[in-house]
């Protein structure tokens, strides 16, 4: 076994090696005394193009033909640009234009590439060269001189001696970028509290449930058994920050047999005749939970496959999510339209640190 527990100072196997002249400690490497010797470079084998002048001429022809073909490809691409307009808006025209220009460019590029490589492999002198490696580190003199320079610079400046100057400079250098970091506070708006924003949506008492994206209100009688509606709050499309609001307020509306629902006592009044509304934003990382499985009443998030059971208040039955989808309490207004009883009773969407 190797003995390298004292930094390898006791053993210097590399030095005794007959084959390896690399400087440095070999550590736990096995140094074979009776190692097989490197036989040296094998004899050179001539290529077919070196031996047969006809093959050589043929390679020459191939190469310049390829380069001429490349010119053809470039001209073809330019011609295709002119010859195949796409302004008609027809998808077939676009396809032809893309294909024709692209294939022309492909020919231009590949022909240069294959030509150049073939030239190198078949015709350029096939003689391998050898470079000698030197240790990456500088020579001893260079390294000594480098150390000396630092010492001289230290002596001349007093960097090591004048500690007060040095340390105050280090302090200043640490402090000076801090204002730049503080400036980045401006990336977010100044007078808004993210926690407060995340805790509320635009839903409020009496706000009608409307179809996404048209914004037409929904009557309870429109919602047939087994159907699912993608819902946004009334007036969302007119909002300045419609997408921001939609990212929180999007809702899925489903009608089940009332006997299939198992609401907890305090939520019994949140549904209307088997119609329930749940936040569409996944409680995992916020994808829309858009896939409804009618038979099992499961909602599936297509991003990470979290599944929610609508019959049991959208509890998580599979996937990485933890919390059930928040439920939007709904009722019917005087005209028979579905409206919200209130905002969600908890923040919707992905979890965040301050949420509790």
């Amino acid at each position: 076994m190797a003995q390298d527990d004292n930094g390898g100072t006791e053993i210097t196997p590399a030095a005794s090696s007959a084959v390896d002249h690399r400087p440095g400690d070999a550590g736990t490497a096995v140094i074979v005394q009776d190692a097989v010797e490197n036989p040296g470079f094998p004899p050179h084998r001539a290529r077919i193009t070196d031996k047969d002048p006809r093959k050589q001429r043929r390679a020459e022809r191939t190469i310049y033909t390829l380069f001429y073909l490349s010119i053809v490809g470039s001209i073809w691409a330019i011609a295709a640009y002119i010859a195949f307009p796409i302004e008609s808006g027809k998808i077939s025209d676009l396809r032809i234009s893309t294909l024709a220009i692209g294939l022309g460019m492909t020919l231009a590029l590949l022909a240069i590439g294959f030509g150049a490589v073939h030239w190198a492999k078949a015709l350029m002198v096939d003689k391998e060269g050898i470079d000698i490696r030197h240790p990456v580190q500088g020579t001893d003199e260079t390294r000594e001189r480098a150390v000396e320079i630092f010492q001289e610079a230290d002596a001349e400046s007093g960097f090591g001696r004048r500690t007060l100057i040095r340390n105050s400079l280090i302090g200043a250098l640490v402090a000076f970028p801090l204002p730049a970091i503080v400036l980045f506070r401006g990336l977010g708006p100044m007078n808004e509290d993210p926690v407060k924003l995340l805790s509320h949506t635009m839903w409020k008492k009496g706000m009608r449930l409307t179809r996404d994206p048209s914004g037409t209100p929904i009557r309870a009688s429109d919602v047939t058994l087994g159907s699912v509606f993608h819902v946004i709050p009334e007036g969302l499309n007119d909002k300045e920050d419609a997408l921001d609001q939609k990212a929180k307020a999007a809702v899925l509306l489903m009608r089940l047999e009332p006997k299939d629902l198992h609401p907890s006592p305090d939520r019994k009044s949140w549904a209307y005749d088997g119609i329930v509304a749940y936040s569409k934003i996944c409680t995992h990382v916020g994808c829309p939970v858009a896939l409804y499985e009618q038979q099992t009443h499961h909602l599936l998030c297509p991003c990470h496959q979290s599944q929610f059971d609508i019959t049991h208040e959208a509890r998580v039955i599979f996937g990485p999510a933890n919390r059930p989808l928040p439920q939007l309490p709904i009722e019917v207004d005087a005209d028979g339209y579905l409206v919200a009883q209130s905002d969600f009773h908890e923040p919707v969407g992905p979890s965040f640190w301050e949420r509790h």
């Binding site: 190797a2 527990d5 930094g7 440095g24 550590g27 640009y81 990485p320 933890n322 979890s351």
Partner: protein, 535 residues
């Protein structure tokens, strides 16, 4: 007077090239550079081309990306689409999406350039990944190249960041959902998550700032870093001189191959055009990222089978593999372990990749420079670790397609996820042991071939009636490839000068046993000489 005459005569003889070279050299002293590097030797092997593919696809990305910036508008201002693509006419969308559609449908060759850009980006990350695997399995990260490994690793991370920021720019439905996931991921980070998300998006998700900000990162900051790191990476390749595989005549002190001028320049230059050509061919024939089918970003709709670009798959897949209910409220704060754990796993995985060279160097204590590459089989444990890592990564990556695997192979979604959860833990272990056994078996085969020759297929009947197959000996050049490699012994645990065995020493000895206990002794000259007589 004589001087003038001399100058006149040389001027007459001089060609234009010579005059131009002289002009440049008198102002730049470039002749020194040509003298230094013109005949520099580069060794030849197909696996050395992987890094070149990465470099060339990056150049393609720079060229096509510059073209795209002339037409792309990095703004989330709402506009109504009036372009050529009929299904989206009259639809409200961001200027970013609108301009991307215009590039695709209303600018001749725009779609082609967009697709070259995207395909090249996919190839860029892929070739970096394969290049890293090549470096890992051949031990090219050993002294003196450890720092260059870290630079290359940084480039891999930067490439993924470049890819993701670019992917998000069109502001289409698919990439918007990708950003939605990033937002959810960031919000799950303890203490700072909510605020980072708020600052990144300039308020609530999605806001109107993110595309412009990602654009600055994508075309300014990240490319500048990539260019700087590539430059550094290549400077080190020149300083270290390229590694080479073991072969007759090749030693730790030389490098054999073709000179830059002319052969290597022709091959490498030609290869650039081949890479560019293949990407152009793919872009001509195959659609990539058809944003016109996805539509503009809207937080409500989503299509089934959403997937990120391939290189983000491992992160997305890791998110999918977390079982339900890994989250709780404690100390009045939400601890989202379903976010924290996958993020930690990804970070630890990447950190292990980044520091592996230093760990191995510490365990072996080998301070010599290594310029001859290992054959993967001769470093059985390292190769097995690599195989385990590939399996781990591959499982995470496969999980990003869990839904597509389920629908295409008619399996249950839950079954696929559960299988992948098991594979994530057991797969690397199985891969580790199988790979290690295969490597050691291959070592034994090498040893047997080197000592006793290979089976010639020639059956000879001996006078006594016995049949034997004649083994042919390798020639010394072929044999050299099989017998020249580094091996290490496990470290013996011994007390230090104060008579103590420290924890650090125990750890090092333990790791050394793990890495080097199962091994074959290297073949000696004596063995070969005595081995010849056997058959």
């Amino acid at each position: 007077m004589t001087a003038t005459t001399a100058a006149e005569t040389t001027a007459k003889k001089r060609s234009f090239t010579a005059a131009a070279s002289n002009y440049i050299d008198e102002r730049t002293s470039i002749s020194g550079v040509v003298k230094e590097f013109g005949r520099k030797i580069f060794p030849d092997h197909w696996s050395f081309l992987l890094g070149e593919i990465a470099l060339y696809s990056f150049i393609v990305i720079l060229i096509t990306g510059t073209f795209l910036t002339f037409f792309f508008q990095a703004s989330q201002a709402e506009v109504i689409y009036h372009g050529s693509w009929v299904p989206l006419k009259g639809i409200q969308m961001s200027a970013a999406m609108n301009s991307t559609l215009n590039i695709s449908f209303d600018i001749r060759g725009g779609l082609l350039v967009r697709q070259i850009h995207h395909w090249a980006a996919l190839l860029f990350v892929a070739s970096i990944g394969l290049h890293m695997l090549r470096i890992f399995f051949t031990g090219a990260f050993r002294k003196p190249r450890e720092l260059n490994w870290v630079i290359g690793f940084t480039l891999f991370v930067l490439a993924m960041a470049e890819g993701f920021t670019g992917y998000s720019l069109p502001d289409d439905l698919l990439s918007g959902n990708g950003l939605r996931i990033i937002d959810g991921l960031i919000k799950g980070i303890p203490v700072v998550g909510t605020w980072i998300s708020f600052l990144l998006f300039g308020g609530e998700f999605p806001g109107t700032a993110i595309v412009g900000r990602l654009y600055t990162l994508h075309i300014l900051l990240l490319p500048a870093l990539v260019v700087a790191f590539i430059a550094l990476h290549l400077v080190f390749v020149v300083v270290h001189k390229h590694t080479q595989y073991a072969g007759p005549g090749r030693t730790q002190q030389n490098v054999s191959g073709f000179p830059i001028l002319p052969v290597y320049a022709a091959k490498a230059g030609g290869f650039f055009f081949i890479v560019f050509g293949v990407v152009a061919l793919m872009a001509s024939l195959f659609t990539i990222n058809p944003i016109w089918l996805y539509g503009p970003y809207d937080p409500s709709p989503v299509s089934a089978g959403t997937q990120p670009d391939w290189y983000i798959g491992f992160a997305d897949g890791m998110l999918r593999l977390i079982p339900p209910h890994w989250e709780f409220v404690w100390l009045d704060r939400t601890w989202s372990w379903n976010i924290i754990v996958p993020v930690l796993i990804l970070v630890v995985f990447l950190v292990v990749v980044a520091i592996y060279p230093f760990v191995e160097a510490w365990v072996t204590g080998d301070k010599r420079e290594h310029h001859i590459l290992d054959r993967p089989r001769n470093q059985a444990t390292r190769t097995a670790i690599g195989a385990a890592g590939v399996t781990f990564y591959g499982t995470m990556w496969a999980a990003a397609s869990s839904d597509l695997i389920a629908t295409h192979f008619k399996l249950t979604m839950e079954g696929v996820i559960h299988t992948l959860q098991f594979t994530l833990i057991l797969g690397p272990i199985v891969a580790y042991f199988i790979t290690k056994r295969i490597c050691i078996a291959l070592q034994k085969k090498d040893r047997s071939v080197a000592l006793h020759g290979y089976e010639s297929g020639r059956i000879v009947k001996l006078p006594g009636g016995e049949f034997i197959e004649v083994h042919e000996q390798l020639d010394e050049y072929e044999r050299w490839r099989l017998v020249s490699y580094d091996t290490y012994q496990p470290l013996m645990l011994r007390p230090n000068s104060r008579g103590k065995i420290t924890f650090v020493n125990r750890l090092r000895a333990g790791m050394s046993r793990w890495l080097f206990e199962d091994r074959l002794e290297p073949i000696t000259k004596g063995e070969i000489e005595s081995g010849h007589g056997h058959h």
